[in-house]
C-alpha cells in the first residue's frame, strides 16, 4: 500500500492485446444494425421491411410488433419506470430504436438498415421541462393507465418551515438560477454486445459492455425468465471495457434485441453501436435546472440553504440511482460548511429527449449538488464583499467535529477541509494571485481565481438504505491461494480502466504478505466471480476493496491457526508481520505465508478444513466522504471572450491511498472530465426535437490542447469505518472542477456586475455577458 506499483493490466493494452467486445468473433455470428427515428415524437404508421429483406445477406428485420408476441417490447428501467425495447406505435425521441436488421455481415446489416422504409406521422414534441408541466402540454406517457400529466416524482428533504424562517430573518439572501446541462460520457469505446444463445443447452452467454455484470444477469433473468432464460442459464461476460463513466450501467434496447434475436435464430448476434448512435440515444447525464438560495449574516456566516430542482429525464426515468434516492445523493448539497438548516426539493418530468439521468463520472447527482453549493457560496462572498477563501475557511466543518451530521441526514465520516484549502492556497500562491488580479483589474484586464471546496459522498452503500431493484449494494471478493502460495482473487466489480487488477492485488498483498505480482485479479464473468453490484459511483475501493481486505483477514486468521500448529505454540504466542508469523520473543521461530499455505494443502491440522480460500461480502456501515480543495486561475481576453486556464491545483482527500500513481491518474482524468462540461460539452436540442451536436465533430470532447497541465496533491484523513481507511476517488475531480472553473470565470467578470454564467461557459457567453453589461 502507498506504493506506485506499475499496472499489471498494461502489458496487454500497450501491445494491442486488450480484449474488447468488438474483438469477439464467433462461428456463424450475425450482425445487427438499428433503424432509428428521425423524429422526436411521432406515430409509426407503417414499417416496410420488404426491400430490406431483399438486400443480400439480410436475414431478418425485427420490429416492436415481433417482440410484442413474446412480451419483450417493453422492459423495466432501474428506477422501476418502463422503457420501450422497440416501439409498436409511437417514438418518443430522435434516434430512438425503431427496428433491427440482422445480417451476415456488418455492411449488409447497414445496407438493410438503409432499405427499411418507415412511415411516420410527426407530432409536436415537448422539449422544455418547464413547458412539460403546463396543463396544455400533451401527456407523453399515455401508455400508462390514468397518467394525466408529465410529472414523474416529487422528492424533498430537510426542514421546509425552519428554512423559510431563517431566510425571512437573514441579513443577506442570495439567489441564482442555474442549469447543469445535459451531457454525455462519450467513452472512447461505444456500447455493444455479442449475444450467444445455445439452443441445445438452453444457455445464453452475453458478452457486453457492462459495468455491473451480475446485476445485469439478474435483470436479464427478470425480463426473459418467462421464455425459459432463468438465471442459471445466463452467463454475462464483461470483457475489457474501453471506458464506462456510468454510461455502461444501463440496459439499452440494443442489448435486449440482440438477446431476443439470438434466442429466436439460434446464432450469435453482434451489435456495436456507432458513435453518433451512442451520443444521440444512450443515457445522458445531468439536465438539472436548479434554483439555489443561501441565507447568511453580513459578516459571512452561512445560516441556511434552499435548493429547488427541475429534473428533465427524457421520456422515461432510466436513471441508475439506488431505489430510495430518486435524486441520488443530491442532498449532499449542504457541502463542506457547518450550518444546521437546509431544505431541498426536486420534481422530475418527462420530455421528448432520450432517457437516462445516469452518469458522467458521477452518477448520483453529486456534481449537480456541488455545483449549486459552491456557486451560491461564491455568490454570497461576492454579495458581502468577502474573499471567498476566507469565507470558506470561516464556515468549514472543523476536523474535530467529525463524524458530522448534516442537516439533510448524512453522517460525514472524516475530513480536514481547512488543511486542504490551505495546502491548495499555498501551492498556487493565492495571496500573490489576488495581488496580481488587483493590478490587472486596475488596467482593465480580466483575470479570475475560482475555488471549490467540495465534499463527495460515495461508496454506496449500507444495505439499510441502499439497493438497486431490491438488491442490496454490498460488494464482494473471493481469494483462493494455491498450494505454492500464489493467488487468484475475483470480485463483483468491473474495472473500465480504474486499474483494479493492480489496486486489489496491492490490498491483498498488504493484508497477506503475498507479493502483488503473484495475485491475479479477475472480474466480469458471472460464472466465476462472486455476486456484486459493479463499478460506478466511486464504489469499488469503498466496497470491493474493503471486501478484499476482509477476505484476506479471514485467511490470516486461518494462517495463524496453521502456524500455531506447525510451530507447536498457542495462537496467542504468535505475532504477524506482513508475510510471516513468528513466535513472540523468538523471532527465529517463524513460518512464512507460503509455508503456511503449503501446509493448508499438505499438512493441515486435524479437524480443520483443507485448502486456503475465503470469500467476503462487504456491507459498508456508512458511506465515505472524500473531499477536495480546488483552485483555478483563468485569464480572459476581453475582446473575444476567450478563456485560458492558466493554472489548476487540485488537493484531494480520498483517505488512505493504495497506489498514488493510479489515484493521481484518476484525478487527472476526472479533472479533464470536469473542464469538459464547464467549458465545452452540452447536448443541444432544437424546439423540433433535433439534436444539434450528435457527433464527435460538434460535441466537444477536450483534446490534449484544451486540457490544462493539472497540478495535484493530497491531504489524508482516513475513513474511520473502512477496513483500510480508503474513501474512493474516481469522481471527486469531475465533481469538484466545474464550480472551480465557473467561479474563476465569474470572478474575472464580477467587476462588471456579472454574478453567474451557466456552464458550459464558452467564449461567446463571456463576450455576450460583457457586451450586455456595456463592458465592451
Amino acid at each position: 500500500m502507498g506504493h506506485s506499483m506499475k499496472r499489471k493490466e498494461d502489458a496487454r493494452f500497450i501491445q494491442g492485446k486488450g480484449h474488447y467486445v468488438d474483438d469477439i468473433k464467433l462461428p456463424g455470428m450475425l450482425y445487427m444494425d438499428i433503424v432509428r427515428s428521425p423524429y422526436a415524437y411521432a406515430k409509426i404508421k407503417n414499417i416496410d421491411s420488404e426491400a430490406a429483406l431483399k438486400v443480400p445477406g439480410v436475414v431478418a428485420v425485427v420490429t416492436g410488433r415481433d417482440l410484442e408476441k413474446y412480451n419483450l417490447h417493453w422492459m423495466p428501467t432501474l428506477m422501476s419506470d418502463t422503457q420501450m425495447v422497440l416501439p409498436t406505435d409511437t417514438v418518443m425521441y430522435q434516434a430512438q430504436e425503431v427496428a433491427a436488421v440482422i445480417a451476415t455481415s456488418r455492411y449488409a446489416a447497414r445496407d438493410g438498415r438503409e432499405a427499411v422504409k418507415v412511415e411516420y406521422e410527426p407530432m409536436k414534441p415537448v422539449m422544455d421541462p418547464y413547458k412539460s408541466l403546463s396543463p396544455d402540454a400533451p401527456v407523453l406517457r399515455s401508455d400508462k393507465p390514468g397518467k394525466k400529466d408529465n410529472h414523474i416524482w416529487h422528492w424533498e428533504v430537510g426542514d421546509k418551515d425552519k428554512t423559510a424562517q431563517v431566510f425571512a430573518n437573514a441579513d443577506v439572501v442570495v439567489k441564482e438560477q442555474m442549469y447543469i446541462p445535459r451531457i454525455h460520457v462519450a467513452s472512447i469505446e461505444t456500447c455493444g454486445c455479442v449475444a450467444d444463445y445455445d439452443k441445445v443447452n438452453n444457455h445464453l452467454t452475453m458478452y457486453m459492455t457492462t459495468q455491473a455484470p451480475h446485476a445485469i444477469r439478474t435483470v436479464i433473468a427478470l425480463v426473459a425468465g418467462h421464455v425459459g432464460l432463468t438465471e442459471e442459464k445466463i452467463r454475462v461476460i464483461s470483457p475489457d471495457i474501453g471506458g464506462g463513466f456510468g454510461g455502461k450501467v444501463p440496459v439499452y434496447p440494443g442489448y435486449v434485441i440482440a438477446i431476443a434475436v439470438s434466442f429466436l435464430v439460434g446464432a450469435p448476434v453482434k451489435w456495436i453501436e456507432d458513435r453518433s448512435e451512442n451520443l444521440q440515444a444512450d443515457s445522458f447525464a445531468r439536465d438539472y435546472h436548479i434554483t439555489a438560495e443561501l441565507a447568511g449574516t453580513k459578516e459571512g456566516k452561512i445560516l441556511a440553504t434552499r435548493f429547488k430542482v427541475l429534473a428533465d429525464h427524457g421520456y422515461t426515468d432510466a436513471a441508475a440511482n439506488p431505489s430510495k434516492f430518486p435524486t441520488g445523493m443530491f442532498s449532499i448539497a449542504t457541502g463542506s460548511y457547518d450550518y444546521g438548516t437546509a431544505y431541498m426539493e426536486a420534481d422530475a418530468v418527462y420530455t421528448n429527449k432520450p432517457p437516462g439521468g445516469v452518469a458522467y463520472r458521477c452518477s448520483f447527482r453529486v456534481t449537480e449538488a456541488v455545483h449549486a453549493i459552491e456557486r451560491i457560496t461564491d455568490r454570497f462572498a461576492l454579495e458581502i464583499g468577502k474573499d471567498p477563501a476566507e469565507l470558506r475557511m470561516e464556515n468549514f466543518i472543523k476536523k474535530e467535529d467529525f463524524p458530522w451530521k448534516s442537516p439533510t441526514g448524512w453522517t460525514y465520516d472524516s475530513g480536514d477541509y481547512v488543511a486542504g484549502l490551505q495546502k491548495a492556497m499555498d501551492a498556487i500562491d493565492y495571496h500573490g494571485l489576488r495581488k496580481e488580479q488587483a493590478e490587472k483589474r486596475a488596467k482593465g484586464e480580466l483575470m479570475g481565481i475560482g475555488i471549490s471546496t467540495f465534499t463527495e459522498i460515495v461508496g454506496a452503500g449500507p444495505s439499510k438504505d441502499f439497493d438497486i431493484l431490491g438488491i442490496k449494494m454490498f460488494d464482494s471478493a473471493e481469494i483462493r491461494v494455491h498450494p505454492t502460495g500464489k493467488a487468484i482473487a475475483r470480485f463483483g466489480t468491473k474495472s473500465q480502466g480504474q486499474g483494479h487488477e493492480t489496486t486489489y492485488a496491492q490490498i491483498i498483498a498488504e493484508e497477506l504478505g503475498i507479493p502483488a505480482e503473484h495475485i491475479q485479479v479477475e472480474e466480469g464473468d458471472t460464472d466465476t466471480a462472486p455476486y456484486g453490484l459493479g463499478t460506478y459511483a466511486s464504489r469499488s475501493t469503498p466496497t470491493a476493496g474493503a471486501a478484499a481486505a476482509m477476505a484476506a483477514r479471514k485467511l490470516r486468521d486461518k494462517a495463524r491457526k496453521i502456524a500455531a500448529y506447525l510451530l507447536e505454540v498457542s495462537e496467542a504466542d504468535l505475532e504477524w508481520e506482513p508475510g510471516k508469523f513468528s513466535v513472540k520473543g523468538a523471532p527465529e521461530k517463524s513460518k512464512t505465508i507460503q509455508e503456511i499455505v503449503f501446509a493448508a494443502y499438505t499438512n493441515h491440522p486435524q479437524g480443520m478444513e483443507a485448502g486456503f480460500e475465503a470469500t467476503h461480502y462487504y456491507d459498508p456501515p456508512n458511506l465515505t466522504f472524500p473531499s477536495g480543495a480546488y483552485i483555478c486561475v483563468v485569464d480572459i481576453d476581453k475582446e473575444t471572450g476567450g478563456i485560458h486556464v492558466r493554472r489548476f491545483v487540485a488537493i484531494d482527500d480520498c483517505g488512505h491511498i493504495i497506489n498514488p500513481m493510479i489515484v493521481q491518474g484518476q484525478v487527472h482524468g476526472g479533472l479533464t472530465q470536469g473542464i469538459a462540461p464547464a467549458m465545452y460539452e452540452e447536448l443541444i436540442y432544437d424546439e423540433a426535437g433535433n439534436i444539434l451536436n450528435g457527433t464527435l465533430m460538434d460535441y466537444l470532447v477536450p483534446t490534449a490542447v484544451e486540457s490544462p497541465r493539472w497540478e495535484t496533491g493530497h491531504v489524508v484523513t482516513p475513513s474511520p469505518h473502512h477496513p483500510i481507511g480508503a474513501k474512493g476517488v474516481g469522481e471527486s475531480p469531475t465533481v469538484g472542477a466545474p464550480p472551480a472553473i465557473a467561479n474563476a470565470i465569474v470572478d474575472a467578470l464580477s467587476p462588471y456586475g456579472i454574478t453567474h454564467l451557466d456552464i458550459p461557459i464558452t467564449p461567446f457567453k463571456v463576450w455576450k455577458a460583457l457586451k450586455d453589461k456595456g463592458a465592451i
Binding site: 464506462g244 479533472l671 479533464t672
Partner: protein, 167 residues
C-alpha cells in the same frame, strides 16, 4: 465487384479480395484479425484507429482498404521488435499514460510519427501533435509525459523519473 489488393502489414505481405467500399480499419480488424486497432467514432474525430501507412499516421477509418493497395502498414501489434517493447509502449506503461487502454494503440501510433518528425518536441508541440486523438480517461498529463520519456529514450538520453509528482 471484389477487388484484389496486396498490403504489407507489420512486415508480412497479405493479399485479400475486398469490396471497394471496405474501410481500411475493417480490413485490419476483421479480415486480418489485428484487433489492436480500435474504432471509437464515425467522423474521423477520435483517432482510436490510427495506424502508420508508409510511415505516416493515418486514421484508418477514413481510408478505403483499396487505397492502401501496395502500401506498407504498421499497427500497434507491429511495434514490439524482437520481444522488446517500443520506447513509447514502455513510456506509456511507466508513466501511467493509459487507463482503459482503448485509445492507447492509436495514441502510440500517432506519437510514433510525431517523434519521427520531431525527436525532441516541447510540451506544446506534443499536445498539438496528439490533438487528433481523444482520450477520455487520463486527462493527457501522463500521455505527454510518456511521449517525453520515449523521446528521451530514443535520443539515447536519461529518462526522467516516472514517479508521480505532487504539489
Amino acid at each position: 465487384m471484389l477487388k484484389q489488393i496486396t498490403v504489407t502489414v507489420n512486415g508480412a505481405q497479405h493479399t485479400a479480395e475486398v469490396e471497394p467500399r471496405l474501410l481500411l480499419v475493417h480490413l485490419i480488424r476483421e479480415v486480418l484479425n489485428l484487433t489492436g486497432t480500435h474504432i471509437g467514432c464515425d467522423t474521423s474525430s477520435c483517432g482510436a484507429c490510427t495506424i502508420l501507412l508508409d510511415g505516416k499516421s493515418v486514421k484508418s477509418c477514413t481510408m478505403l482498404a483499396v487505397q492502401a493497395n501496395g502500401k506498407s502498414i504498421t499497427t500497434i501489434e507491429g511495434m514490439i521488435q524482437d520481444g522488446q517493447l517500443h520506447p513509447l509502449q514502455e513510456g506509456f506503461k511507466e508513466n501511467h499514460a493509459l487507463h482503459c487502454g482503448f485509445c492507447t494503440p492509436g495514441m502510440i501510433m500517432r506519437a510514433s510519427e510525431l517523434l519521427a518528425n520531431n525527436p525532441n518536441p516541447t510540451e506544446e508541440e506534443i499536445r498539438w501533435g496528439i490533438s487528433g486523438n481523444l482520450c477520455r480517461c487520463t486527462g493527457y498529463n501522463n500521455i505527454v509525459k510518456a511521449i517525453e520519456y520515449a523521446g528521451a529514450k530514443m535520443r539515447g538520453e536519461e529518462t526522467a523519473s516516472t514517479e508521480p509528482q505532487f504539489v
